[in-house]
């Protein structure tokens, strides 16, 4: 009928117009760094990477890891003071969100405790994961009066599998001679969002418990075994809150939020490391772990620092990454702002001051990793 024909043509015209007007700006990945002239060595130093205050105001949007978030909140005023045209707007939301939004170009920087998977790198050519600090994760519990509880990764894996259900289970008692543990049921708390904390926690469980490694394994989300009393929380602060309100709980919490956890009365477990000693997260134990693993870091910067050997090495240590997809950065000013921010953030006179790092429990990047970071940063061009 007349009207129907007109209607369908009209609809097609409208749709076509809308589709055609869609944006989709494209840019190509430009060639690797060209500036190495001023340095005798072949790997670029920090001075060789072009940084500086951009010509116009640049806002760098960041979202992702709730473990990295407090550190970025500390860095935000500093970068703006050093380079007035650069403003950093950090947000939380979980490492999974940070990864996917950075890869799709929705945000400039994705905060993630987990490096990109091989599949993600293949699907997004040129995507970078650039570490800016080293952090760690604690295992906290809510048992008033019990301090310095010793746990091993294997036992924790059994707790999160539902095999160990009460605190005075023989396996836990065996690790803690002389401590009277109550018969309280264990309430494990896990992250509900796609989380880098889950990634490093499950990496630790996989490294210490073979049935966990062949079962849930590790990732930003894993198929958690069904434990009837298990609770979920979104983000590190919510993990603290939930554990604080639940007697008998056990939770994995990033060191940047550990201060709040301890103030809330949660205990911090001593974890058994690869050398057999029981350690708690602290700058010396974290540094011991990263020193042991620093030489293995590849050019792609995707490296795990979990369960390193060393008498004092803390077993759950990780690089804090910023995920960047250079092909989605369209202006050279934005690229300049990104490069400047990262170089400033890793420099000990810029963002990585002792004050900033110790406030969140992080330690600086090992020195041999810095040239690799510079090479990666130099690939960010607009």
């Amino acid at each position: 009928m007349n009207v129907r024909r007109h209607a369908s043509i009209g609809f097609a015209v409208i749709t076509g117009a809308v589709l055609v007007s869609a944006c989709g700006s494209t840019s190509t990945v430009t060639a690797p760094p060209t500036s190495a002239a001023s340095s005798a060595s072949s790997t670029p130093t920090a001075a060789a990477v072009q940084t500086g205050n951009p010509a116009g105001p640049q806002t760098l949007s960041e979202a992702g890891s709730s473990l990295l978030y407090p550190y970025l909140q500390k860095l935000a005023p500093g970068i703006n003071a050093a380079f007035p045209n650069i403003t950093l707007t950090p947000a939380a939301g979980g490492s999974g969100t940070g990864q996917s939004e950075a890869l799709s170009g929705t945000i400039d920087l994705g905060g993630s405790d987990a490096y990109l998977s091989a599949a993600q790198v293949t699907a997004n050519a040129g995507a970078l994961n650039i570490p800016i600090a080293v952090s760690a994760q604690a295992v906290n519990y809510n048992l008033p009066g019990i301090t310095n509880l010793k746990l091993s990764g294997s036992v924790i894996a059994q707790i999160y599998s539902g095999t160990i259900k009460v605190w005075n289970d023989p396996a836990i008692v065996a690790l803690n001679t002389g401590v009277t543990l109550p018969a309280t049921p264990i309430v494990p708390v896990r992250r509900s969002d796609s989380s880098g904390d889950t990634f490093i926690f499950t990496s630790f469980l996989s490294a210490t418990n073979t049935s966990w490694a062949s079962g849930p394994a590790f990732g930003t989300t894993v198929p958690w075994p069904t434990v009837t009393s298990e609770l979920t929380a979104a983000g590190n602060p919510a993990m603290v809150d939930t554990c604080h309100s639940t007697p008998g709980c056990i939770a994995y919490i990033g060191v940047s939020v550990e201060g709040a956890a301890l103030v809330d009365g949660l205990g911090e477990a001593e974890l058994q490391n690869a050398s057999g000693s029981y350690v708690q997260p602290g700058s010396s134990t974290i540094t011991a772990a990263v020193t042991a693993g620093a030489s293995k870091v590849p050019a792609s910067l995707a490296a795990s620092l979990i369960y390193e050997t060393g008498a004092q090495a803390y077993p759950i240590v990780n690089f804090e990454y910023l995920i960047i997809n250079p092909s989605k950065i369209t202006s050279s000013d934005t690229a300049l702002a990104v490069r400047t921010f990262i170089e400033w953030a890793i420099s000990s006179t810029g963002g990585a001051t002792a004050d900033n790092l110790s406030a969140v429990g992080f330690v600086p990047l090992p020195t041999n990793v810095i040239p690799l970071v510079n090479t990666a940063v130099a690939q960010i061009t607009g």
Partner: protein, 354 residues
């Protein structure tokens, strides 16, 4: 010149609408308006087709990958992205360990909405009857404002209240009492989260959300019960209760059923309130207080991490869940609207309880 058409018997056709004007009687301006407004009138249909087509196209790979296990398996996991191996089924490549069984969410969706429906209908009808039969005229206006209040509260606020106030209240005071029922009904036995998150809390909040839909229709229909019938019954010596039972309820019954179906449709699609309250666990609830998940809340929760999947299958699994939800909602909605159409178009509630 416009003529009024006449039927064979000489009577003009049609009610308020001037029917079937022949096209050569329209001016150019008329034709333009007819054409433009005709296009506009097809946009809802076009939008519906667009939605269905997009969902089907995106969902097919996930459906091929899962086969019938979509409906039979409660294992839903978007896969381990860090395992270098991939899982290949029926020619579709997905991350290692990926499973797209939707049974958990189908159970969660049906359970929450059915419980909400079973509770909302008697509460709405009872409340409306009370309002119309016993509450004096002067109070009726202000009290019915509460109904409108309930209708106007956005779903995120219901979720907020459920998470911070209602859930903890239920967990501390109501569930302990209910668990005594566990002797007779095993599903009521067991433990619950301290903040009340779980199936029952979510169902109760959903009840509150669909009450306005059912209550507003019932109220309009109750007002239209023929006075002659109800007062005649009273004159015959029936008690008020018997009048309601014998006269009012049969009159409004179809309308209640229709609006109940619409309310059910809303409960099926409710996302944000359920997301905050139900605990988001990827397994069916262990007891009536247990945490679980629904189709709508899972889509909202996992869509952003679905993009992390380099193979793109996670996004397709989300589209598959969306397709299942769409089909469920359409069936209930269509049934409700077809039944309502037979009664009167004025009694048609505006779907979202507004």
């Amino acid at each position: 010149m416009i003529l009024v058409r006449r039927r064979a018997g000489g009577h003009p056709t049609g009610p308020a609408r001037v029917a079937r004007t022949r096209t050569h009687e329209l001016t150019t301006g008329d034709r333009v308006l007819q054409w433009v407004s005709g296009v506009a009138a097809t946009i809802p249909l076009a939008g519906l087709l667009f939605i269905t087509v997009i969902l089907v196209i995106w969902a097919v790979p996930a459906l091929v990958y899962s086969g019938f296990t979509v409906f039979t398996s409660d294992k839903f996991f978007i896969g381990n992205f860090y395992n270098p191996n991939f899982s290949s089924v029926n020619g579709i490549v997905a991350p290692f360990g990926a499973n797209y069984g939707a049974l958990t969410f189908i159970i969660g969706t049906m359970a929450t909405s059915l419980i909400a429906l079973l509770l909302a209908v008697p509460i709405s009808v009872g409340g409306v009857l009370m309002l119309s039969e016993w509450i004096p005229r002067q109070l009726e206006g202000p009290l019915s404002t509460f109904l409108e209040l309930l209708a106007g509260i956005p779903s995120v606020v219901f979720g907020f209240w459920g998470l911070t106030v209602f859930g903890p209240f239920l967990g501390a005071h109501v569930f302990p009492a209910l668990s005594h029922l566990g002797v007779v009904l095993p599903f009521f036995k067991g433990s619950w989260a301290f903040n009340g998150q779980g199936l029952l809390t979510a169902s109760l909040v959903l009840t509150l959300m669909i009450i306005p839909i059912i209550a507003s229709t019932t109220r309009q229909l109750v007002k239209r019960v023929p006075v002659l019938a109800s007062e005649g019954a009273l004159a015959l010596g029936m008690t008020k209760y018997e009048v309601v039972r014998v006269v009012t309820i049969p009159y409004v019954r179809t309308g209640i059923i229709a609006s109940a179906l619409l309310g059910w449709g809303r409960a099926l699609g409710e996302t944000i309130a359920v997301l905050l309250i139900i605990g988001m666990a990827n397994n069916p609830p262990v007891n009536i207080y247990g945490t679980t998940s629904t189709l709508a809340s899972t889509i909202a929760d996992e869509l952003d991490s679905a993009l992390s999947d380099g193979t793109g299958m996670a996004l397709r699994a989300m589209a598959m869940l969306g397709l299942i939800l769409l089909v469920m909602s359409l069936i209930t909605n269509l049934t409700g609207r077809l039944v309502v159409r037979r009664i009167s178009s004025e009694a048609l509630p505006v779907g979202r309880g507004v």
